[in-house]
């Protein structure tokens, strides 16, 4: 049998009893040795660098969770979950199980052979061997997890609240909040769905999906940052988090007033933003570009020629070239004062059929990470309130979560510092 440091827990437990697979030789060794911290990712090229689209690969173990500073992948599923575990012991077991499944699924290997004692341990949708395939599993906790159910009230991250409704929001409760977040991302949709099925199967008693939005990343068209459904490149001005100093400054929660267990985590905001693409397509290109502040074809700021040119707002104080209420100018004014409100965007496009009025139901799964919700996301959101683009988008769901610190090694588990 595969070694399982938590077998006692499972014997008592209420979940399926995760049948651990056998890690592929290389994958297990890699998983054990790669302790990816900020330093480990520092050497890899930047996501936002125009010349280097190379993907950063993350091992499962590390100071931080994978799937945050790494580049967006081609396919994702973002889940919000309600915890149905009855108490703290069951919540602990749940997070052990999620960790064990995530470790196996991201490392790859042979699914457990159960003989005649059960149906097969794996759905088989990726073939007899689970390939790993660059899958990342990123878990977060919502403010509601810190209510009375699990005795965690005094451990809530300082800034973690229920996501408020902002001025231009039209929130649908069924698509908001959650006790946990789980994002599964991979280069292929089958890998994402295989992981979703596996994790759900092993955790049915302990958590249930509250809402789920699948997303994808478009290929560069023709180059540079991928485009969203509005036809514009989205994410051009992301901070250079490949630089650990930048990541420590903007993304990771470290020392300070936060509870000690939060070290190495990050505030995760997800916003489900419907894009009214038919309406948008009926807007003149000049107006579209003035709303964004960028040229649609190249992604260049309206005062530049290339996508990664830096807009020179100070030379255009009246907004003659880049309007003062354009999206890029409000979101990131590029002043010394607003420098520390920058955040790391990791958004995906979504597409989910049709609306009742016959329009395409598509939009953006906006995901961002930051060290401080108020200083970053909320401040940016306040600056964007009432921007001209709000007529063409409708944020209807999402939530605030705290992405847990990383799982450091084979004995560690998601939420250990929080629950232990």
């Amino acid at each position: 049998m595969t070694d399982n440091p938590h077998s006692d827990l499972h014997r008592r437990g209420f979940l399926r009893g995760a049948a651990l697979g056998v890690g592929a030789v290389g994958a297990v060794a890699g998983g054990a040795t790669v302790l990816a911290g900020s330093a480990a990712t520092a050497a890899t090229p930047s996501a936002t660098s125009p010349a280097a689209p190379a993907r950063r690969k993350a091992g499962f173990h590390g100071v931080h969770q994978a799937g945050i500073v790494e580049d967006v992948q081609l396919s994702t599923a973002f889940l919000s979950l309600d915890v149905t575990a009855a108490d703290r012991r069951e919540l602990t077991e749940l997070l052990h199980t999620v960790t064990e499944r995530a470790r196996f699924l991201t490392s790859g290997g042979t699914p457990a052979a159960l003989g005649i004692t059960d149906s097969p341990s794996d759905s088989g949708t990726l073939g007899p061997q689970v390939p790993g395939d660059g899958l990342t599993v990123t878990a977060g906790v919502g403010a509601s997890l810190f209510d009375g159910r699990f005795g965690l009230a005094d451990r809530k991250p300082l800034r973690l609240t229920r996501m408020p409704a902002f001025d231009d929001d039209d929130l649908d409760e069924a698509w908001c909040h959650g006790d946990l977040s789980l994002q599964l991302s991979a280069p292929h949709a089958d890998t994402v769905l295989h992981a979703l099925r596996d994790i759900a199967r092993n955790t049915r008693g302990g958590m249930q999906v509250r809402w789920r939005m699948d997303g994808f990343t478009s290929p560069p068209r023709p180059s540079g940052t991928p485009r969203n459904h509005l036809g514009f490149k989205d994410g051009t001005a992301n901070p250079e988090v490949a630089d650990p100093a930048v990541a420590d400054h903007l993304v990771w929660v470290g020392a300070g007033a936060e509870p000690a267990w939060t070290a190495g985590g990050s505030y995760q905001v997800v916003r489900l933003i419907r894009m009214l693409v038919e309406f948008w397509d009926r807007v003149s290109i000049t107006e579209q570009e003035r709303m964004l502040g960028r040229t649609r074809d190249t992604g260049a700021p309206l005062d530049g020629s290339h996508e990664f040119d830096t807009p020179k707002f100070s030379q255009d104080p009246a907004g003659d070239v880049i309007p003062l209420d354009s999206h890029i100018r409000l979101a990131n004014p590029r002043t010394a004062k607003t420098e520390n409100s920058r955040l790391l965007r990791r958004g995906y496009n979504y597409d989910r059929g049709m609306d009742s009025n016959g329009n395409l139901d598509m939009g953006l799964v906006f995901v961002c990470y930051q060290q401080d919700l108020e200083r970053q996301f909320a401040a940016v959101q306040q600056r964007l309130a009432g921007e001209p683009m709000v007529d063409y988008i409708s944020p209807f769901g999402g939530g605030y979560f705290y992405a847990l610190p990383g799982v450091r090694d084979r004995t560690d588990w998601l939420g250990r510092a929080l629950l232990a």
Partner: protein, 419 residues
């Protein structure tokens, strides 16, 4: 109603499992003529023993696992496994005989099975992936119309814990619990006949309030007998049939039984219009009761039904697919839990030594039952669409977990040849 040209199909029992079941039943039937197993000599690990040496070189396959080529035939069953080793590994089973064969990897002392491949065709090779710890193992080759042959015993040395295994369940093991369950069902059908008689009397005298009151207890008696519906045959559709969701489907003259009457009672139909359906229901139940002593339940279906009753409850009750106005799907689901307990009760002594997760299964049943019971208030059940979000999530979680714990029951009770 499954015969209707418009494709109307009753939601249960699922036809796929019926087909599945037939296959298993035939496989089991071939086993009834039993003779003593042929036991082979013990082959100590790596000794080569008396059997001709077949080189079982482990190739370097893409899966990174150790592979061993093993022969399957009555004369050479298990030949090729000469270097036993613990861990997850693959045996590439090659049938060198002219007859299809089943192959089990067993512990010859206990009979516990670690892996099986069914229907290995002549000349073909199929993989068997198993997780082996320290212990004694032997391949067992079972061909139709021939006694089982057990190959040489191979010993994996060391102190590695063993992987999952269970003793097989054969036809004989299942006959006593099946007979006992059949007897229990007979008693329930008597109870059911009393219930449908009361319902018919209420409707005959025009007391629809009483009929609405008496409908549920009678229906729930039926919903506790979930493992017997296959044996009921066409009577199941007459007693508990449903119709398609197409507009007007409820007016289908073939729509009969509890749900037909439910539709009328909760949609303002007159007593007169319900007299014929009530009489037909009562008559179908009495016919079933009078013929039950002749019925023969299929032992091979026991484990499958223990699992599938709750699959059907999740699919048709938790979705309210089978609601025709009474809003009592959760009561039905609760009766289905009783029904699952009834069949598990009969299988329990066979299950205890075979299912390592039995304590979890018991806990999951208790939890599911409690979650459902919480939705009954003075005999009134919360309709599925009135559950709060938290209640709904809890019930979904409990059913989901229960189903995962029931899946091993169906796997373990797949009828297997043992000799």
């Amino acid at each position: 109603m499954s015969a209707e040209p418009d494709g109307i199909e009753p939601p249960h029992p699922p036809s796929s499992s019926r087909t599945h079941l037939v296959r298993r039943w035939q496989a089991a039937a071939a086993v009834v003529v039993v003779a003593a197993a042929v036991t082979a000599t013990v082959l100590a690990a790596g000794s080569g023993g008396g059997s001709p040496r077949t080189d079982a070189k482990a190739t370097a396959p893409a899966d990174g696992l150790r592979h061993t080529a093993v022969e399957v035939s009555t004369g050479t069953c298990g030949r090729g496994w000469s270097r036993p080793q613990a861990g997850t590994q693959v045996f590439d089973l090659h049938n060198t005989s002219g007859t299809a064969s089943e192959v089990d990897l067993t512990d010859p002392r206990t009979g516990r099975i670690f892996g099986e491949v069914e229907g290995l065709a002549p000349g073909t090779t199929r993989p068997m992936t198993v997780d082996l710890g320290s212990g004694s193992y032997a391949f067992k080759c079972l061909q139709d119309d021939t006694d089982a042959v057990t190959g040489p015993t191979v010993v994996v040395a060391g102190r590695q814990p063993q992987g999952p295994a269970a003793a097989p369940v054969n036809q004989h093991d299942l006959i006593p619990p099946t007979l006992a369950y059949q007897k229990w069902v007979g008693q329930r059908i008597g109870e059911l006949a009393a219930g449908t008689g009361t319902l018919k009397a209420d409707i005959d005298r025009g007391d629809l309030a009483a009929a609405r009151r008496d409908w549920l207890p009678a229906h729930l008696v039926y919903e506790r007998m979930g493992a017997a519906y296959d044996t009921f045959g066409d009577a199941d559709a007459a007693i508990n049939g449903t119709v398609a969701r197409t507009p007007g489907a409820v007016d289908d003259p073939d729509f009969a039984g509890f749900h037909r009457i439910e539709y009328g009672l909760w949609h303002g139909e007159s007593a007169a219009s319900l007299r014929a359906p009530a009489a037909a229901l009562d008559s179908a139940v009495r016919t079933l009761r009078d013929g039950w002593s002749e019925a023969r339940m299929d032992p091979a279906a026991m484990g499958l039904r223990a699992h599938e009753i709750i699959e059907n409850a999740e699919q048709f009750e938790l979705t309210a697919r089978t609601d025709y106005g009474s809003g009592t799907n959760l009561a039905t689901a609760r009766a289905n839990v009783d029904g699952t307990r009834a069949i598990l009760g009969q299988l329990r002594s066979l299950l205890v030594p075979r299912d390592a997760g039995l304590a979890k299964l018991d806990a999951a049943l208790d939890r599911t039952q409690a979650a459902l019971d919480a939705q009954q208030h003075g005999g009134t059940w919360t309709p599925v669409d009135r559950l709060t979000h938290a209640q709904r999530q809890q019930i979904n979680a409990d059913f989901g977990d229960l189903l995962e714990q029931l899946a091993p029951v169906a796997a373990i009770f797949e009828v297997r040849r043992t000799a």
